[in-house]
């Protein structure tokens, strides 16, 4: 696979190192800062190229036309968005991944067809939510292309879901409860008769826009986050 990484800051450098270790892939790491690119070239060799990863002519020169993937991880959301859009629409790169610095831009990036977005804020929030009792809803991952997401949440006492059989729940359309982990740690693939108890952990696949409805159903009105 041929992968172009745009932005050789801390994130891009780390990615470059990891990807370089995978022998099957060809990787190019680009940065528009000449001295940064020069210093990294000393260390990582020819895979580092100086240039502007949002510029058509430059991307062409590093072979964007045959790239399988472009990953834009600069600290500038504008650059990351434009780089991915140029890759996708001009060079027909199959998969584009963008770092999102301002979490509010995640929605725009998705609407504009960027295949995956990664937000440090979002990732750290998900980690914190594991430890905060009042945050019982954790988005685990977005499913590629479908608008669905995998979520993890706990059944809260007093919610509509508590004491209810799965079949009697009015789940949002296209939502599936895939796994129930009962208190004590026994996992169960639920059927319609499975009864949800307070404290049960649920892994579910839901449409991203159904999140508020699903939270209300399972986690009740006690959730504010």
């Amino acid at each position: 696979m041929y992968i172009i990484v745009v932005g050789a800051g801390t994130v891009g450098y780390g990615l470059g190192l990891e990807l370089q270790a995978l022998a099957d892939h060809e990787v190019v790491l680009v940065d528009r800062d000449r001295s940064r690119a020069g210093a990294l070239r000393e260390e990582l060799g020819e895979m580092v190229v100086h240039g502007d990863g949002t510029e058509v002519v430059f991307l062409e020169s590093v072979g964007a036309r045959r790239a399988d993937m472009l990953i834009a991880v600069t600290g500038d959301d504008g650059a990351n968005l434009v780089s991915c859009q140029v890759a996708k629409h001009w060079f027909k790169v199959g998969r584009t991944i963008a770092r999102v610095n301002n979490p509010r831009n995640e929605r725009l990036f998705r609407e504009l067809g960027i295949d995956s977005t990664v937000s440090a804020t979002g990732a750290i929030m998900a980690q914190i939510e594991f430890d905060l009792p009042e945050h019982t809803f954790i988005p685990l991952m977005k499913l590629h292309g479908s608008g669905l997401q995998l979520v993890d949440l706990h059944v809260i006492a007093g919610s509509e879901a508590e004491g209810a059989a799965v079949r009697s729940l009015r789940l949002p359309e296209n939502s599936i409860i895939s796994l129930v982990v009962h208190e004590g740690g026994a996992p169960e693939v639920p059927n319609g008769d499975t009864v949800l108890r307070a404290g049960d952990e649920i892994i579910a696949v839901i449409p991203q826009e159904a999140e508020p409805e699903f939270r209300r159903l399972v986690a009740g009105a006690t959730v504010t986050g």
Partner: protein, 134 residues
């Protein structure tokens, strides 16, 4: 018309003054408050310090009620991010982005944005001036 302009450089301030003179309601956004000195002294429109490519700043500028949005900073990528937020998140009807790199401008024009390139326009005018002189 309600118009929001991102970038109060020479192009942005000139457009703001002209549109206001014609009776439109203008909000100008720039990260540098010093740039507002370029607006005429009798400018009645609003000025807002912040990044025009930040959703919350655009919201504060009232872009959700704007009839038109112009992204006129010197940064192509900033302009393209700001104008796509205005168009896709806030649904502004007329969105125009200044994109110096003609190739990039063309790609985004194909994606439905209105773009113009000061590079192409400047080169064309210089060329025309030469032709006229001959």
């Amino acid at each position: 018309m309600r118009v929001v302009i991102m970038g109060c450089g020479r192009v942005g301030s000139t457009l703001a003054a002209r549109l206001e003179h014609e009776g439109n309601s203008i909000t100008v956004i720039d990260t540098d408050p010093y740039s507002f000195r370029r607006l005429p002294s009798d400018f009645q429109g609003e000025t807002l310090v912040g990044s025009g490519y930040d959703e919350s700043v655009l919201e504060a500028a009232g872009v959700q009620e704007a009839d038109a949005f112009f992204a006129l900073t010197q940064g192509d990528n900033r302009n393209l991010l700001g104008s796509q937020i205005a168009k896709h998140i806030f649904g502004v009807k007329v969105v125009v982005a200044r994109v110096s790199d003609p190739f990039r401008g063309e790609i985004f024009a194909n994606l439905g944005l209105r773009t113009f390139s000061p590079t192409n326009i400047g080169a064309q005018m210089a060329y025309d001036a030469l032709i006229r002189e001959q």
